[in-house]
Point group: C2
Chain length 394, copies 2
Amino acid sequence: MKGNLLIIHGGGPTPVINASLAGVINEARKHSEIQNIYGAIGGIKGFLEERLIDLGHQSQEKIEQLPFTPGSVIGTCRYKLTEGDYPKLFELLKKYDIGYFFCTGGDDTMDTCNKIHKMEKDFEIRVMGIPKTIDNDLALTDHCPGFGSAAKYVAISVDEVGRDVEALNIHVCIIETMGRNAGWLAASSLLARKRAEDAPHLIYLPERGFSEEEFLDDVDNLFSKRAGIVVVVSEGLKDKNGVSLVSPKHKSAINGFGHPLPGNVSHYLAELVSEKLGIRTRSEKPGLLGRVSMALQSDVDRQEAIRVGEFAVRSAIEGKSGLMVGLDRISDSPYKCELELFPLEKVVNVEKPVPEIYINKRGNDVNKNFITYCQPLAGLLPDYMRLEERWVKV
Amino acid sequence: MKGNLLIIHGGGPTPVINASLAGVINEARKHSEIQNIYGAIGGIKGFLEERLIDLGHQSQEKIEQLPFTPGSVIGTCRYKLTEGDYPKLFELLKKYDIGYFFCTGGDDTMDTCNKIHKMEKDFEIRVMGIPKTIDNDLALTDHCPGFGSAAKYVAISVDEVGRDVEALNIHVCIIETMGRNAGWLAASSLLARKRAEDAPHLIYLPERGFSEEEFLDDVDNLFSKRAGIVVVVSEGLKDKNGVSLVSPKHKSAINGFGHPLPGNVSHYLAELVSEKLGIRTRSEKPGLLGRVSMALQSDVDRQEAIRVGEFAVRSAIEGKSGLMVGLDRISDSPYKCELELFPLEKVVNVEKPVPEIYINKRGNDVNKNFITYCQPLAGLLPDYMRLEERWVKV
């Protein structure tokens, strides 16, 4: 089928969203059915405003740099289409002769993508979803492009901060990771722990109701044994009743899909420890850094993101539509994932939390089986040196 | 003079504190006057507790890895010696036959070092200070080992976060850098700004009294022109009366030298913008990460840190004492620094703020001359790609 390809990004950038874009562009250029490759600037909202960039005629040098470029080079947005938007949308799809419609994003974006696929139209269009979320909470796929790099960022950061905290050995350091409803990123900090005494010393996921009392007990107990403690918390921590630990104070803290943005959990907990236990406590909130760091991008993640983009194009050329590309793990060791297609309608509105089997009974740690899952996605991590313990006795 | 060498770390780790240590060890091994090389575990407090490690007999492989190891491999502390500590200290220096006494640290550590040098003793000891601070606020030296890497971390982080904020284009992002009294690190974010419209859009240093009113005006004005704004603030921001913007609430927030630890300035300002202007605002506080990141370590910084350590040993072997090694800039382009020695008594208790000439009149930006100073220390920064602006018109 002859036509133009339009690609749209939705939700927050990941370290490899531009890598998937490179995969789409490179593959699309190989198929004569695809006449032009357009990118919507600023997501679906940008398309409704007819802000389109020609991706097919960018220099090869630019395309080669794409997988190593942070942010989203075509922008993105968090915009929920209203009923009134659809007629305009379909009019524009016809106007620009879009035969191939690709959305890269998380659950909200796949939902938009699915709706566009399902609606009745008087023209043919092949709709494909490309998964992208550092939160790793999309259903059916083994994992999501973006997660591996963000997991690597969390693991290395916790390892390095752990060395800092160990060197001073006087305080509690609370590191906040992204992850509103799923604790995959907080859990990935476990990769930093090479010896039982290494950071992270406590890990709290939003999958379990959080008890401030138990948390203070956990910190107090640990601090009586060692004076340098690293605690990893997910930004989306909720109490036993499912209420966010820190509610956003202002209505500006609601995102475009109506989801409330979490407050500053690490700051809140640091104040709590400081006040209740009298222990010096710091909070660290690298926040956005974990989804843009190019230096800590995972090689596996980047390569998979590219493959996912390529596969979306090949599948659409074969006539497929209404599907999301996903990854199916064939083997842990050696790590091997194959590409799969999942119906968008089965993907959307299903969140994938960290399974109970990975979380310990107390809900303050993640067990080692998680490493088998997560390690290949983050890739090789540095193994920082420790001195030989040659004590001086005179 | 025959004797053992003792090296002690003070204050927070930097990305290159272990590099200076490697320089000391490697050089000390070349001189037969130095019999053993000891490291105090956990700073001066560790020495008082006789926790010493043999550094001279570590494997060469370990020493080679040292410059690439985060934290402080021999620990560190923030402990102010009391009058009562000195007799014990001198007793131990004799017991362990220390002829060469090296302290690596910032102003507080150099002060300790100077006091030990000045006090009357019945034995000979050569005392050398090795500068180390990401804050870059030590007097006399052109810059301090540790600053270049931390500046590189800030610059790349602000560049990358800027790409994320630009992609979504809906909010204000406030990034907090370390720097209690000097704004060198906040200023170094300027390296990220390649075009006038790039992040950082506003930079506030503690050298200037901060006005919340002017700040809100600055953000409001900018936000009316562009919807994605990155603001960099130093953790040590003070109002026009010199009062910290956010006072620590708890007495646990006082460090070992009696200096109060700053509150969470970025979080406070994000709430302020959100509340007063109704603009969605995030705060990012990478905190400790900027002083441990090995991936963003500056090559120049690492090499200089090693040279500083080596030079301290050579100088002491030549009979010098009571001095701090420093860097003297010979040329900006090509960048060249020579090693110098400064009397400890002239270094201590003098803070080096960012000079007025680098700060704009409004106090919300840093001028380009600062780049000439800072760029060679951070080294080459990534120049991330932007697409060609090929707009689609149908």
